[in-house]
């Protein structure tokens, strides 16, 4: 993976040389706060845990993560720098993985900046910090899965707007695959086994367990596989659609 590190560094610093980073982080922290304190009634619950904080992460990510991932490849394609990048002596996988990791690291930085809430929770009571850590890990994994999907879709278009909209829709499908209404709707069309399999892809269901502190190896493996599959698919799409 020669060349991965420079690509990673360039991409990550790219977020910070433009207003993207500041705007994203401010909005992310603001919304996380609104969701936790207003909608989640963090104080009123009177419990020293961060369950309400994590509960809203899938919905927060649904719109914010595609906003990060949309530029990954669509921008390179639009400006023609994809030709520059892919004629440098690096492998395609180094470019794809380097860019993905940079976006993931950026999401990680935004997530890490919610640490005051963790301090507050510890100040107000004595929470199970293992559960909170599990929540953060799960949230980071889910962000990675959203990003991998977004990266793949960004690779297939020149337009960042299209990349954003399609990413939101696909991420929404992944999120909702497990809830009762959707399952019921699918049951009219598909055999029971297929509905169950699709239900297994539900981010909401998987993340719910994690946010309550149950970091099941199967859920971790699930998100890791989603990341692996979609990052690999990004490579395939980039390679296929170099021109046009």
């Amino acid at each position: 993976m020669k060349g991965l590190l420079p690509v990673f560094k360039r991409e990550l610093s790219g977020y910070f040389t433009t207003p993207v980073a500041v705007v994203f982080i401010v909005i992310f922290l603001f919304l996380a706060g609104v969701f936790t304190f207003n909608l989640g009634a963090y104080f009123e619950r009177g419990q020293a845990d961060m369950v309400v904080f994590f509960n809203f992460h899938p919905w927060l990510y649904l719109f914010l993560i595609p906003a990060v991932s949309m530029r990954l490849w669509a921008e390179e394609r639009k400006s023609g720098t994809i030709e520059l990048l892919l004629t440098l002596p690096i492998s395609l996988s180094a470019a794809v993985v380097g860019k993905f990791l940079a976006a993931w690291a950026f999401a990680g930085i935004a997530l890490a900046l919610t640490f005051p809430l963790w301090i507050t929770t510890n100040y107000l009571g004595s929470p199970d910090n293992g559960v909170i850590l599990a929540g953060y890990l799960g949230s980071l994994l889910m962000a990675g899965a959203f990003l991998a999907i977004g990266s793949c879709i960004s690779a297939s278009t020149k337009s960042q707007v299209i990349a954003f909209i399609i990413s939101v829709v696909i991420c929404l499908l992944f999120m909702l695959a497990g809830i009762r209404e959707v399952q019921g709707f699918l049951a009219d069309w598909l055999p029971v086994q297929a509905v169950q399999v699709l239900g297994g892809f539900s981010f909401l269901t998987r993340f719910e367990a994690i946010s309550r502190g149950m970091l099941d190896a199967r859920d971790v493996l699930f998100f890791a596989s989603i990341i692996g599959v979609f990052v690999a698919a990004t490579g395939v799409v980039v390679n296929m659609k170099k021109v046009v």
Partner: protein, 351 residues
């Protein structure tokens, strides 16, 4: 140094567009090869395949002993490439952009700084080093692209339309850089190979030691710029301005007929008679300007001057042409289009 072997590219599946059709080509060290052709001729596609951006449908290219299909990363390491339009990352400063390229190319520490310094001086970017690339003029952006392509002192440089869209001064500067690159001895080998594509014909004369013309994906001509000129019907043509003789009523009589009767004149292009006013430069009166196109490129000058002398026409200006590149270009690239009609279809080529 570059060996293109029967390379073809078809876009789309099945019977998609054949953008490059079985092109073979060798470029040696010290050569500056001009890639000429109309838009959509396959110039860029060929370059994209040689640089490993696109995979050839068939055939391959070998650069410095490495096969682009088998070892694309190896080939990319040996090539400096300026893609069409010199794309770059607009948010980055010139310095951080070159830093990124240097890191990807495997340089670090003192060596990295030395390389960036050298290349910045060479294309004169010192003054804008800390400016974001998006704030630079087109000429500077192009120089950033050139700097990026030669940072690792590559034995092979491939430049896709390096002067396209620049003003005449910027074109001149970029050409100077390219010329200096090709002849500079700081590469360990005997010289660099430079391949550049263009549709500006004067550029070929200005910088190239060799030129090829490509149209509809096929290689049509391969030779020096002088060879190309010699293919023009205007090669050795004579253009002259004479004071024509006067007729009985004082009106000027055209000399076109007599000059057209010279043995090796194929055609006379008569630009007509104009009346020039008296000036310090010479007497006023009628002047006739004509271009005599020779048969088979034979020299005409001797015959033309002796005829003028014997007829008593005084010659005001006379010039022999080397040939017109645009004429060769147009003839070749449009003739090829005509040839692809049903008549020229290969025998037995039925599906």
């Amino acid at each position: 140094m570059i060996s293109i072997r029967k390379i073809s590219k078809r876009y789309g599946t099945g019977s998609g567009i054949l953008a490059v059709d079985n092109v073979s080509l060798e470029v040696g060290p010290g050569e500056v090869l001009g890639f000429l052709g109309p838009n959509g001729a396959g110039k860029s596609t060929t370059m994209k395949m040689v640089t490993g951006f696109l995979t050839p449908t068939s055939g391959t290219a070998v650069v410095c002993g490495r096969d682009v299909v088998e070892d694309p990363v190896g080939v990319k390491a040996a090539i400096g490439y300026l893609p069409e339009g010199a794309p770059n990352y607009p948010d980055m400063t010139v310095r951080s952009f070159l830093d990124f390229i240097a890191q990807v190319r495997g340089f670090s520490g003192r060596e990295k700084h030395r390389r960036i310094d050298t290349v910045v001086d060479r294309v004169q970017l010192r003054g804008v080093l800390h400016q974001p690339i998006e704030t630079l003029s087109k000429g500077f952006k192009r120089r950033v692209g050139l700097a990026q392509s030669m940072l690792h002192d590559p034995p092979v440089l491939i430049l896709d339309e390096p002067t396209d869209g620049l003003d005449p001064n910027q074109k001149h500067e970029v050409r100077n850089v390219i010329r200096a690159l090709a002849t500079s001895a700081d590469h360990q080998n005997s010289g660099r190979s430079v391949v550049l594509s263009t549709h500006i014909l004067e550029e070929v004369e200005a910088v190239c030691t060799r030129a090829i013309i490509i149209a509809k994906g096929k290689l049509l001509v391969d030779g020096t710029p002088a060879d190309l000129r010699a293919m023009s019907k205007y090669h050795n043509a004579v253009t002259l301005t004479v004071i024509p003789p006067s007729g009985a009523g004082g009106e000027p009589l055209s000399v076109a007929k007599e000059l057209g009767d010279i043995k090796w004149v194929a055609a006379v292009e008569d630009k007509g008679v104009v009346h020039v006013p008296v000036s310090p430069a010479g007497p006023g009166g009628p002047r006739q300007t004509l271009t005599l196109v020779p048969k088979g490129g034979r020299p005409l000058l001797g015959d033309v001057t002796s005829m003028c002398k014997s007829k008593g026409w005084s010659i005001e200006t006379i010039a022999v042409e080397g040939g017109r590149l645009d004429d060769v270009f147009r003839t070749l690239t449009t003739k090829d289009a005509a040839n692809t009609g049903p008549v020229a279809e290969p025998v037995g080529g039925a599906a």
